[in-house]
Symmetry: C2
Subunit: 335 residues, 2 copies
């Protein structure tokens, strides 16, 4: 195992220590607890809080979106494992600024169970919560059972848009509605070329042959829908866009944002080559692209591969996507 780490069992703790040492002007631990990250910048009283949670190993997801104009808190689990309900409850309490808290997270069993317990726990303190689940991965379940789909990179658009809505002073009901609306308009699919290594396991938990590509693989190595001989960039872009638009059709005149997200080891150059083809296909359909996101937004440590996310925008979502935002891992300087 060739990882630049110290002891595998201190991977998460030391990563968190690095974040707090580097970015204390933006984020901090909750009362010294390295498993709950919150903003260190002031929050306006009465703003709706937005929180998330999930396992480690996906930076910038999840905690990388704790920041101004984004989300307020993140509970941090071990690699690929949910944090506890107690940490989530502590976080929700800390991120209630008087108008309730939106729990916005990926549709994974452990996170869901623990968040359900956590929201019950804070109810006793009269903290109102709403839950919106991210289920953007079209490869993870057919359209007939969409409610089973997993949450992947599309959650970044939900964090950004819901974060801007909360910043505008909208109510919990409204912020939840907008988060759900953004997610209803969002679809993602990925491909993987190589596995990743969980530090405490020390070897790849699955394998992909040297001349093969796994279509639709999840960010924890969940099996995809098909294993194919290695494909060219344009074929990958076309295949993913075909699956996404079959699930959520696009029409001439539509406006979308596109995320081409590297899973960890795939060079930026390759993401741009894929973006080029996505842009061409959309242009040919008469669909225009607004604020493309190309880079690493939701990873699986050293996994090679990428995902493509499409979110269809309207006049409500567009300015919320554009609004300024600053976190250690996501910044735009829009005016």
């Amino acid at each position: 195992m060739k990882k630049i780490i110290n002891k595998p069992e201190s991977f998460v703790q030391e990563m968190m220590e690095g974040i707090v040492a580097a970015y204390s002007d933006k984020v901090t631990t909750l009362n010294g607890d390295f498993r709950v990250l919150v903003k260190s910048t002031p929050t306006k009283e009465g703003k709706v809080g937005i929180v998330t949670a999930g396992g480690s190993g996906h930076l910038p997801v999840f905690l990388g979106y704790v920041g101004q104009g984004l989300i307020d808190g993140c509970a941090v689990g071990n690699v690929f494992a949910s944090p506890s309900a107690q940490k989530m409850a502590d976080m929700i309490q800390a991120c209630d600024y008087g108008s309730g808290v939106l729990c916005l997270y990926g549709n994974y069993g452990g996170d869901k169970m623990n968040f359900e317990m956590a929201t019950e726990m804070v109810e006793m303190d009269d903290i109102e919560t709403r839950t919106v689940l991210v289920r953007d991965d079209v490869a993870s379940s057919p359209k007939s059972s969409m409610e089973k789909r997993r949450g992947v990179a599309g959650m970044v658009y939900a964090f950004k848009i819901a974060g801007a809505a909360a910043d505008k002073g909208l109510s919990l009901e409204e912020v939840a509605r907008i988060a759900q609306k953004a997610l209803d308009a969002t679809r993602t699919m990925g491909v993987a070329l190589s596995p990743c290594i969980v530090p405490e396991v020390g070897k790849p938990t699955f394998s992909i042959k040297e001349d093969e590509i796994e279509i639709g693989m999840g960010i924890h190595g969940e099996p995809g829908i098909e294993v194919k001989p290695m494909m060219q960039a344009d074929e990958i872009a076309s295949l993913i866009l075909e699956k996404i638009t079959a699930d959520a059709p696009l029409a001439k005149g539509d406006e979308v944002s596109v995320m081409v997200n590297g899973l960890g080891a795939t060079p930026m150059e390759e993401l741009l080559i894929v973006y080029r083809k996505v842009h061409q296909i959309l242009s040919d359909m008469g669909v225009s692209v607004y604020m493309p996101h190309i880079g690493e937004f939701a990873t699986s440590m050293e996994m090679a591969g990428l995902s493509i996310t499409i979110i269809k925008l309207d006049e409500e979502l567009k300015p919320l996507l554009r609004a300024p935002a600053t976190s250690p891992f996501y910044t735009n300087a829009n005016k």
Copy 2:
């Protein structure tokens, strides 16, 4: 070869098409030439121009720093190969806003030869130029022959600081002085864990054993100073800091910025674990850190490994580092 590309020979062209399709609000080709990228945003008449050039395969370096508050143009070569003198001359002409142009680039033979020809070519058009070479890699040559050192990730600090100086309206002489001053205060060293694949070659151009790490390897796979058994994160941080501070000593009360730069395949989590140790060592020395940069700033496609850069700041360099900047690959939203 498992790269997400189309034809290897169209790698650079298609990457550039992706950039221009995605970011036309920020950057554009020079008169349709995909080998010269310039800003698409307005430039104040009389601002000193800053240009660079280099081979492809290092994104965000070099072209990723063309933007507001950064550099004005970049000539783009094939993978790991210098662009031509003619492209450089075209770029210098386009980036002269009436007060001359600073050529700021890494100390590599091909780039140097071509830039020398290019600056002679534009002299005939009465364009004044200055040249500042980046030679921050302490592993590439001993202190006694510093002038032979290669330029690596430290050039990002030079782009940022010189870019802010030019934006303030300083003269060519002053912008060149400040770029040189920033570089005199900058040292970098890297380690590599795995090779990268040049698309047109199709296989790794060198190898690193599964249980070894190459100390001081260059970003094109230039041999390092030592091959060692794989090391832990803290050992790597200590070793690099030792080499850097032996070359450019730090003292109690000094203030630095630190860049922990991933070479391509190394996860963000690992960069943060290394940053944690760098921060600890500097703290123990009484050295404080300002605006750390942790992420991918200068890569070698899918190479695994990282580099650490230290720049010693003073009251002139600090506000220039902090000044706002926006490019497709580097943004800060500082006020």
